[in-house]
Amino acid sequence: MVQDIVAGAFCCVGTFFFLVGTTGLIRMPDVFSRLHPSTKCDTLGACSLIVGMAVYSGWSWELLKLIIIACFVLLSSATCGHAIGRSALRGDIKCWRRKNGVEDGHGT
């Protein structure tokens, strides 16, 4: 019973972060600021969901598999975000600025 509640809470947290991350992905103006919410999706959202599933499954072999999946997601998504950000930065993609501010700032 308690297990179910805790698992559900973690899954709700994960879903919340996915929602926020996706909203940010749609609403944000340029690559760099979009990268910020979309990596939150992977790390916080997916890992909260995995923790929720781990709590739900209890002590079993599924727990080990879930831990491995969590490790894989953490490593690969962080690397992915780094690679996208780096290539956007080196590829001279301009940062978004407010309209009345400096228009053509390079990413620093």
Binding site: F72, H82, A83, R86, S87, G91
Partner: protein, 247 residues
């Protein structure tokens, strides 16, 4: 615009059809009245000795289909090579990242760390395919995907040293060759083509022999599929690298 309307109408029609489909898992479904399914489910275990019925069907009952599919994959490679050609053997490539952004240390380290695990998982998928979901095709595709990731990060030079052409060349046909060899083995044993089991010769060993032959065929398909995918990728990206040949 007309095409959009047409697609929307098609979508509505398909949704209507899907909504009217018989429910999943219903014993009264029309597909369940077929005699083939009864045979597969009741006799499949003892006839193919595969714990996973799907593998038993793919490798054994529908062996001709699978052999055709394997040949199709091989033909795809042949077509790609006929159009694009292979990457040159023995030429010195200089690795130039055409995307202007050299891959960073973090990405290189992570890929070098993760690719072995992905390949391990694909080996599991291939060898365990006889018991659990998965098998030669899936495992081969996973190997191909991991090598594609490796090639994207480290470049053609590095990865064609890891999997050199003289290694890929004999293995590309391994799917077709293994399947054909196992099929011909059935002929040699006095059975039909693709007969995995011939009880009069193997005797008591027959069940384990069938399992080993299944694993052999799965491994052949996996290796062949992986090598085909890698060769297709190499021959597709080779030109970019050849521009940068060291004089």
């Amino acid at each position: 615009m007309i095409s959009l309307v047409f697609i929307a109408a098609l979508f509505a029609l398909l949704l209507y059809v899907v909504a009217n489909m018989p429910p999943m898992g219903d014993p009264d479904n029309p597909t369940n009245s077929s005699e083939v399914i009864e045979r597969y489910l009741e006799k499949g275990g003892e006839e193919t000795h595969a714990d996973n019925v799907v593998t038993g069907i793919i490798i054994n009952y529908r062996g001709y289909d699978t052999m055709g599919e394997v040949t199709v994959i091989f033909c795809a490679l042949a077509a790609v090579l006929a159009v694009l050609g292979r990457e040159r053997r023995g030429r010195i490539y200089a690795y130039v990242d055409r995307s202007r952004v050299p891959s960073s240390v973090i990405v290189r380290t992570m890929v070098a760390l993760l690719v072995p695990f992905i390949i391990l998982f694909s080996v599991y998928t291939i060898l365990h395919g006889e018991i659990s979901p998965g098998g030669g095709f899936q495992g081969g595709a996973i190997v191909g995907g991991s090598m594609i990731v490796f090639t994207t990060i480290f470049g053609l030079l590095e990865s064609s040293q890891r999997i050199p052409q003289r290694l890929r060349f004999p293995l590309e046909g391994s799917a077709v060759i293994t399947f054909f060899a196992v099929g011909a083995l059935g002929l040699a044993g006095g059975g039909n083509f693709l007969t995995f089991a011939w009880p009069e010769i193997a005797g008591n060993l027959q069940p384990s022999l069938v399992v080993w032959l299944t694993v052999l065929v799965e491994t052949g398909i996996g290796l062949g599929g992986a090598m085909v995918l890698i060769s297709i990728l190499f021959s597709m990206i080779r030109e970019e690298e050849e521009i940068a040949v060291v004089p």
